[in-house]
């Protein structure tokens, strides 16, 4: 997986700056959503993007360990659940003060991450993936079995977290901006961390952990620390999710949610600062469009992802860093094409799916032909 996140040639400073600027512009644009939502009289826009911003926080936290640390955790959604359940359970027992709920949720997420990390970080590769998956499923079944808190039906949160007179979370734009500020803070924190001494150790261990030990690093404790930090940030995303939906259920930590988070990071670009934000925006917008055609939308989404892996190694960010304007334009064009077909065929999904699959096949054949021609001209 690590080879996919890095191009063979060293990226130039200019192209890296491009992805940096696009990332900042995107974050700035996200800050305008409440205004746009009012301007277009479209409250759903705010709902959709609140979800996007919250998931982006979770994806950025996963990127810290997956992208920079090379730890393929297949259980990251567990912390969304732990954070959400902490808030939900406290609210259920009449504790609404945010200054109790939120720090406690983050703390407990960190403790759960420490336990999972201690058990899983001794292993590598596929075993690490399986163990993180298994342990997060354990957390999932705990939620399922918590009958006092609704079992698998989940639990409604009657009253949102209370920030005193400071913030009113019932006000949707206020809540959105709170999420947005937390996303900005998270991105900035990850930026500082991965470029710090700690970050160097983390990235070195991803690349070559045996060598890290020989030059004198007790690698394991650095990896565990990163694992816990990521869990805590993701726990905060869980707090926001529960507050946003006013509802907690085991579904929020189902293994497929962990898979979605990995896809968001890979789609956007592992080990890049803004990659997971790009990936989350792209993933959830696509989900929005595709899932309105059919509940089997992932059948369409799968091939799309394969295309991304084939055409834009390193995800959206990787394409930007290598200056593959064509790939990016094609990606955007594909999305708008999709959106166009979607609006044209309101209730019908078979035809647009066929069109999409045909388009993908066509592009694939074209790429194959071009590659063959290139290879031939090299001989």
């Amino acid at each position: 997986m690590s080879s996919a996140s890095h191009s063979s040639a060293a990226p130039t400073a200019d192209s890296t700056r491009l992805s940096f600027i696009v990332g900042l512009v995107l974050l700035g644009f996200l800050g305008l959503i409440p205004i746009l939502s009012v301007a277009f009289e479209d409250p759903f826009l705010l709902t959709l993007f609140t979800r996007i911003v919250i998931m982006a926080i979770a994806a950025v936290s996963l990127n810290l360990i997956l992208g920079y640390g090379g730890m393929v955790s297949f259980g990251h959604a567990a912390y969304i659940g732990v954070g959400g359940y902490t808030v939900g359970i406290l609210a259920f027992h009449g504790v609404h003060a945010a200054w109790i709920q939120w720090p406690l949720a983050v703390l407990i997420s960190g403790i759960v991450a420490a336990l999972i990390g201690l058990l899983s970080l001794r292993t590598k590769g596929i075993f690490f993936i399986m163990i993180t998956l298994a342990l997060s499923q354990l957390v999932y079944y705990l939620g399922n079995g918590a009958f006092a808190y609704g079992g698998d039906d989940g639990l409604n949160i009657m009253k949102r977290s209370d920030f005193g007179g400071l913030l009113n979370l019932d006000n949707r734009p206020t809540f959105y901006y709170l999420c947005w500020v937390i996303l900005l803070a998270t991105v900035f924190f990850v930026h500082r961390t991965v470029n710090s001494r700690f970050g160097m150790v983390l990235q070195g261990a991803k690349s070559n952990d045996r060598r890290m030990a020989t030059i004198g690093f007790p690698v394991h404790r650095y990896q565990l620390t990163a694992f816990v930090l990521a869990g805590m940030i993701c726990g905060l995303a869980g707090v926001l999710t529960a507050t946003f939906t006013g509802f907690i259920s085991p579904a929020m930590m189902h293994w497929s949610r962990s898979g979605d988070l990995i896809v968001m990071v890979v789609l956007g670009g592992m080990g890049s600062l803004f990659g997971p934000v790009f990936g989350t925006v792209a993933f959830l917008l696509l989900e929005e469009v595709l899932s309105s055609w059919t509940e089997y939308w992932k059948i369409v989404f799968g091939p799309l992802l394969v295309l991304v892996v084939l055409f834009a190694r390193g995800g959206i960010d990787g394409a930007m860093v290598r200056g593959q304007a064509g790939t990016l334009l094609a990606g955007c064009a594909a999305f708008f094409l999709l959106y166009g077909i979607h609006t044209a065929y309101e209730d019908e999904w078979l035809i647009p799916t066929l069109i999409l699959v045909a388009a993908c096949a066509l592009v694939w054949v074209a790429k194959w032909a071009v590659d063959r021609k290139k290879a031939a001209s090299h001989d």
Binding site: A10, T214, I215, F217
Partner: protein, 251 residues
Amino acid sequence: MTEVLKVSNLVKRFGGLTATDNLSLDLRQGEIHAVIGPNGAGKTTMIGQLIGELRPDAGTIHFMGQDITAMPVHQRSASGIARSFQITSIFQNFTALDNVALAVQAHDGHSFRFWAAARKDKSLREPALQALEQVGLAHRADITASALSHGEHRQLEIAMALATKPKLLLLDEPMAGMGPEDSARMVRMLQGIKGSVTILLIEHDMDAVFALADRITVLVYGHAIATGLPDEIRRNAQVRQAYLGDEAAAE
């Protein structure tokens, strides 16, 4: 003379195979001590035990008078033992300078520092650049490691080891796979640092060994059959038969 390293009656078995067979060896302050021996003699296995990646089945290892037989890898490194790998083992996505700076960082306190930018840290970059200069790689400091040549990788390996200011440097076939030009440069480089650090050198290139070594130990089937000055080793009949003779016959 002070002994930097003292290996006593070291034994390492892999199943039925005794890869290190009652091996004793000592290294004196500042010397280059070469260990030669045919492939499979147990040279890399010996290094593995010195660095702490392999646990010996018997025997002791003393470093600067301290028993380090049970000490974990990262602590041995912290106390001043550095190694270069026989197979190049660097951080491919980092630049040459990043690689060396990471080695410096490993010996500059703990790394639970989350805020200040490590690439702007002079206390890491300057010693790293110095080490690159020592091995003649300073002009390639900003090149991504994966883009460096094989010879440059070997140089970078040694720069990383040197950057930790080790007391003992373990070099496992540093000239392996190098052309004559790169080999000659490596020999000059090692001559340059000779005396400032004690070096255990494993090398197949006999010209390099005889040009560099103060003493030579010959390893056969995990056992040291002879230790002595280069001239003594050259004259030793048992050695000629067991090892050097093979080489001469092959030429």
